[in-house]
């Protein structure tokens, strides 16, 4: 088991009354699984992803990520885990604007203190996502699709055990989205990573093993893909 959520609640303090965004969430993810979280806008998908990845703390409940109780760990301990075992892909790419493509990919490795070989590995990954000739370009000099491919390369650079993606194709046109999607699944297969994708895109969701549906902060269904695709 690589990810386990037990009785997760998340509430935001409102002006008049509190807003419960996640309402008693329970699920488990096993190593190698490819999971999609879907649901209407505002249902709490991004919030859940943030919690699972250790970017935020639940109001109550327990979260275990790669066998670590991240819901009770300090920010620095969580940072260590994110750096060693977790990868991220964002809807709006989130590349560091002041670093070149290559440097962006190298960052997680360098954070691990693995300066040696980092450059080679990053170059290979950029090659792998089809940006071999763009090492020294800054994010502002790349198209959206290219930026997302750089961020794919970055996400895999530290050989994560689990990868979180929030609307990875949300900002891209269909064609580019497809290219990124395929790259994501190919790389995932190669590296044997667990993958958690938040998406609106049913087609993308259908390419996964398992779909969790959220509505109003509750899990309304959690099905493996064969049954889900019938619905």
């Amino acid at each position: 088991m690589i990810l386990e959520a037990k009785e997760i609640f998340k509430t935001y303090k409102g002006l008049n009354k509190d807003l419960t965004v996640l309402d008693n969430i329970n699920f488990q993810v096993f190593k190698g699984e490819i999971l999609a979280i879907v649901g209407p806008s505002g249902s709490g998908k991004t919030t859940l992803l943030g919690l699972c990845a250790g970017l935020d703390n639940p109001t109550s409940g327990t979260l275990n990520l790669v066998e670590e109780p991240i819901s009770i760990m300090s920010e620095n301990e969580k940072a260590e885990i994110r750096n060693q075992k977790v990868g991220f892909i964002f809807q709006n790419f989130q590349l560091l604007p002041t670093l070149t493509a290559l440097e962006n990919v190298m960052i997680p490795l360098e954070l691990q203190g693995r300066a040696k070989g980092a450059r080679e590995k990053a170059k290979d990954l950029l090659e792998r996502v089809g940006l071999g000739g763009r090492h020294h370009h800054y994010p502002s000099q790349l198209s959206g699709g290219e930026q997302q491919r750089v961020s794919l390369a970055r996400a895999f650079s530290n050989d994560p055990e689990i990868l979180f993606a929030d609307e990875p194709t949300g900002n891209l046109d269909e064609e580019t989205g497809l290219i990124v999607e395929n790259l994501l699944f190919d790389l995932n297969k190669e590296k044997q990573t667990t993958l958690v994708i938040v998406t609106h895109d049913l087609e993308l969701a259908n390419k996964t093993d398992r779909i969790i549906k959220l509505k109003g902060g509750k899990i309304v269904s959690d099905q493996s893909i064969q049954s889900a695709s019938i619905v």
């Binding site: 943030g50 970017l55 620095n76 260590e80 994110r82 991220f88 604007p97 960052i107 997680p108 360098e110």
Partner: protein, 838 residues
């Protein structure tokens, strides 16, 4: 911590944002440059002015008495100095053969190269040095005019007749007008013996003038040897003693320069804090990503701290270099404008101070906003939010350190715990008030929002309270900037007015002594006929102290436990009497008794310093010997004399009704417009009342005036300089504010807002900010300057509102203009470029 990674990231990260950091650097560079330049300019100018004030004495120190200086003391003096001149002075009748007239003169025989500071000014110029080479005399210019003498005429002094070698145009010595009753004649020391005027029993003053090259603290030196010299009846006078009259000008100058130094440092700090704050804001997203990828909070902090620290250090060094260059170049550039020549040397203390203060303040003020970096949540990668960066509890430590270092800096300037404490509190209060105003403004705008106003107006106003607003930052920085500018402006005006008040232009320059009481009306008539004012016309009675609290002076002097000072007891008292205190004097203790009625006790009024010297208190009994008559008096009041006025000051004042019958003469103080009138007046006075003597203070006043001019200049220059830095910091923090609003503006534009609308929205926002903060700043400045004037400078407070209104309009206009300029930048740039960069 992963140091190599931190260093690498710091370098990489700074690559594309150099322009933003340039603004950060520029405020440090400017602030430090200003600090160094001001400090060393101070050092240089203050030294220069000190040298000038030495020229009043002509030397660093004089030692004298009414006998030659004993060998014992000579030895101790020789260890101190390499160079001295000696003077033998006596009062004697001189005879002018060509005019068949006699005149009482002050005759000085000089040996050595006195004066060491300033110059003996003579006509012809060469006479100043050549008179010592033989049997020549230099005669006071006023006396020569009075008797119609020319160079080449003769003057008989004692046994010898001297040819007049030149006119003596200036004088040295005490500014106390009363000391020079008679015109001066200079001859060489050798010739003095030949005149045979020095006879046993004749009253001769011996005086040595010393030039001290070492850095020894003369007053300390003097203190240690006081008894030794006193036992030999020798008097030491140092520059410090001489400066009595200038003291007020000097202490005001010092205080003012200290305030300017503090202000320029504070300004630089505001620049640092606001630019780092905005820099961090532009970096929030990057930091969130780094955090998300697993960088620890402390490491992220170190990345940015390193950037800021290294660039800060570079800027400080650059600032020191520029500051040093400025002080070398400035005199060259300003040569034509400076009213005098300044010899500039690079001041190492200014450089060290600049380095230390620059590094300390850069680090501390940058740390405040930087600490927040540790708390930037990685969640910001998932949800773009403009939530303010969460404040760090450690920041309180930084605030405390900042307050402590300001207090420390102030302490290093003032040397007083209480003063620096009060100042620090005042600065804190100013900050808090500005923060309070900012909070109040956002609250009020929200509460009383004009819902029916136009779109532009509503949009502009709501910018004041919406998330990511710059209300606080800008109100504090514009408010502080305006406050400081206004404060400097007001203070400069007040101090200049006060200092120039002392200038020769407003001072009487002539004193007539020895007028008989029955000549009073005639004297006034003569003065008025010359169109000259009668500034003062008062009776003088000379008397001696003969007892205190029932003890005779002799018993009192022999008492070893006595605290009264010898000079105060021995002084020949020149006393006046009047019904009312002079309006320039300040009553400190007791009440002034103007009229004596038969049967009362005689209540007299003493000057504060004199009373301190005698160590007497209100109610003490003092017995006087008024030329044979003994008068018993009591101390009724203690006054503080205004030493800025060149009038006769009386340490002791009697009420009317006591001294009217005592032997006395009158003193008249007046002001002559020029030398010719001075000479004519002197002739007329001496002809109609031969007993009177006319003393021209013109030359001493000219020296004084020179110093005043310099002091005024320094004040103007320093105020101008730091007003300039203030403006630059203000302008750059306004320019920086662009980054805060850039995304909103671009979005608005993308949503189809017309250029014009964006301009108007920004104009409304900046106008509101400008008006509120300028207003607050001005109020703070008025209050602050009032307190400073009252408690630090001890000046009367007055304010002219027009220039302040001008400052207000200027600041508001400047704020709006820069606001518009900032939006122009948004409007002109491609939205795409900005969206990608953000």
């Amino acid at each position: 911590m992963k140091w190599t990674l931190i260093v690498k990231t710091a370098i990489r990260d700074s690559r594309k944002d150099r322009s933003k950091l340039l603004l950060f650097m520029s405020s440090i560079i400017l602030g430090v440059a200003a600090l160094v330049a001001i400090n060393s300019f101070n050092d240089n100018l203050v030294r220069d002015i000190e040298t000038q004030s030495k020229s009043l004495l002509g030397a660093d120190m004089t030692v004298g008495g009414n006998k030659p200086i004993p060998d014992l003391l000579i030895a101790s003096l020789d260890s101190l100095t390499s160079e001295h001149s000696s003077e033998v002075e006596l009062f004697s009748m001189s005879y002018l053969p060509s005019k068949q007239e006699s005149q009482f003169v002050r005759l000085k025989g000089l040996t050595g190269s006195f004066p060491y500071y300033g110059k003996l000014i003579t006509e012809p110029v060469s006479a100043a040095t050549s008179y010592e080479t033989g049997r020549y005399a230099l005669v006071d210019d006023g006396m020569m005019i009075q008797y119609g003498l020319d160079v080449g005429d003769s003057i008989k002094l004692g046994a010898i007749t001297f040819p007049i070698h030149g006119r003596l145009m200036n004088a040295f010595g005490s500014m106390d007008a009363g000391t020079s009753f008679a015109p001066s004649v200079y001859i060489s020391g050798e010739q003095m013996l030949a005149t045979e005027l020095i006879q046993p029993g004749s009253l001769v003053n011996y005086k040595n003038y010393y030039k001290i090259d070492s850095d020894i603290d003369l007053d300390e030196w003097k203190k240690e040897r006081r008894t030794q010299f006193r036992n030999e009846s020798m008097r030491i006078t140092t520059i410090e003693d001489q400066r009595e009259n200038l003291q007020e000008a000097f202490s005001n100058l010092n205080n003012f320069l200290n305030i300017v130094a503090l202000i320029s440092l504070l300004l630089a700090c505001i620049g640092v804090a606001s630019s780092v704050l905005i820099y961090v804001k532009t970096k929030v997203q990057s930091i969130a990503i780094l955090r998300c990828l697993g960088m620890k909070g402390e490491e992220a902090f170190m990345v940015y701290f390193l950037q800021i620290f290294v660039l800060g250090a570079l800027s400080v060094i650059l600032g020191v270099a520029i500051g040093s260059i400025i002080q070398v170049i400035l005199p060259i550039v300003l040569k034509g404008f400076l009213p005098y020549e300044v010899k500039m040397t690079i001041s190492s203390s200014a450089i060290i101070k600049g380095l230390l203060m620059g590094m300390l303040s850069t680090t501390l003020f940058a740390l405040g906003p930087l600490l927040g970096v540790r708390n930037i949540s990685p969640l910001k990668t998932l949800r773009i939010s403009d939530d303010p960066v969460k404040a760090d509890p450690l920041r309180w430590l930084i605030y405390v350190l900042i307050v402590l270092s300001i207090a420390g800096f102030l302490y290093s300037l003032s040397g007083s715990f209480i003063d620096s404490g009060i100042f620090t509190l005042a600065i804190l209060a100013a900050f808090l008030i500005l923060f309070g105003v900012a909070k109040l403004v956002t609250w009020c705008v929200r509460k009383f929002f004009p819902r029916n106003a136009s779109f532009v107006f509503r949009q502009g106003l709501s910018n004041l309270y919406r998330p990511n607003n710059q209300t606080q930052t800008l109100i504090v920085s514009i408010g502080l900037g305006t406050g400081i500018l206004t404060l400097l402006f007001i203070l400069q005006g007040l101090i200049l007015g006060n200092v120039e008040d002392m200038g020769a232009g407003n001072q009487p320059n002539m004193i007539v002594f020895g007028i008989e009481t029955d000549q009073k009306d005639e004297m006034e008539k003569i003065t008025k006929s010359f169109d000259m004012p009668v500034t003062q016309h008062v009776p003088v009675v000379t008397m001696e102290l003969s007892g205190w609290q029932g003890r005779s002076k002799k018993a009192w002097m022999q008492d070893t436990s006595r605290t009264a000072r010898r000079w105060a007891m021995n002084r020949e008292a020149r006393v006046s009497y009047r019904e009312e205190m002079s309006p320039d004097d300040e009553l400190i203790e007791g009440s002034y008794t103007g009229v004596y009625n038969e049967g009362d006790s005689i209540m007299i009024s003493l000057d504060q310093r004199y009373a301190d010297g005698l160590n007497v208190e209100i109610g003490d009994e003092l017995i006087w010997n008024v030329q044979g008559t003994i008068i018993k008096t009591y101390v009724g009041s203690i006054r503080k004399i205004n030493f800025r006025k060149m009038e006769s000051r009386f340490f002791i004042l009697f009420p009317t009704g006591v001294l009217e019958a005592a032997p006395q003469f009158m003193i008249l103080v007046t002001k002559s417009p020029n030398k010719q009138v001075t000479a004519d007046f002197r002739n007329t006075v001496v002809k109609s009342m031969p007993n009177a003597s006319v003393i021209d203070l013109g030359s001493i006043l000219a020296t004084l005036n020179d110093i005043i001019t310099k002091v005024s200049y320094v004040i103007k220059f320093m105020a101008g300089f730091s007003i300039l830095i203030g403006l630059i910091v203000l302008i750059s923090s306004l320019f920086l504010s662009k980054y805060q609003r850039i995304r909103e503006s671009v979005l608005l534009r993308t949503l189809g807002a017309v250029e014009n609308k964006i301009y108007k929205i920004n104009a409304v926002e900046y106008a509101a900010l400008g008006i509120l903060s300028a207003l607050t700043g001005i109020v703070l400045a008025v209050v602050g300057s009032y307190l400073l004037a009252k408690f630090v400078f001890e000046l009367d407070y007055n304010l002219s509102w027009w220039p302040i209104l001008g400052i207000f309009v200027f600041i508001v206009a400047l704020t709006v203009l820069i606001g518009l300029w900032n939006s122009r930048d948004v409007v002109k740039r491609s939205p795409l470029e900005i969206l990608r960069n953000v």
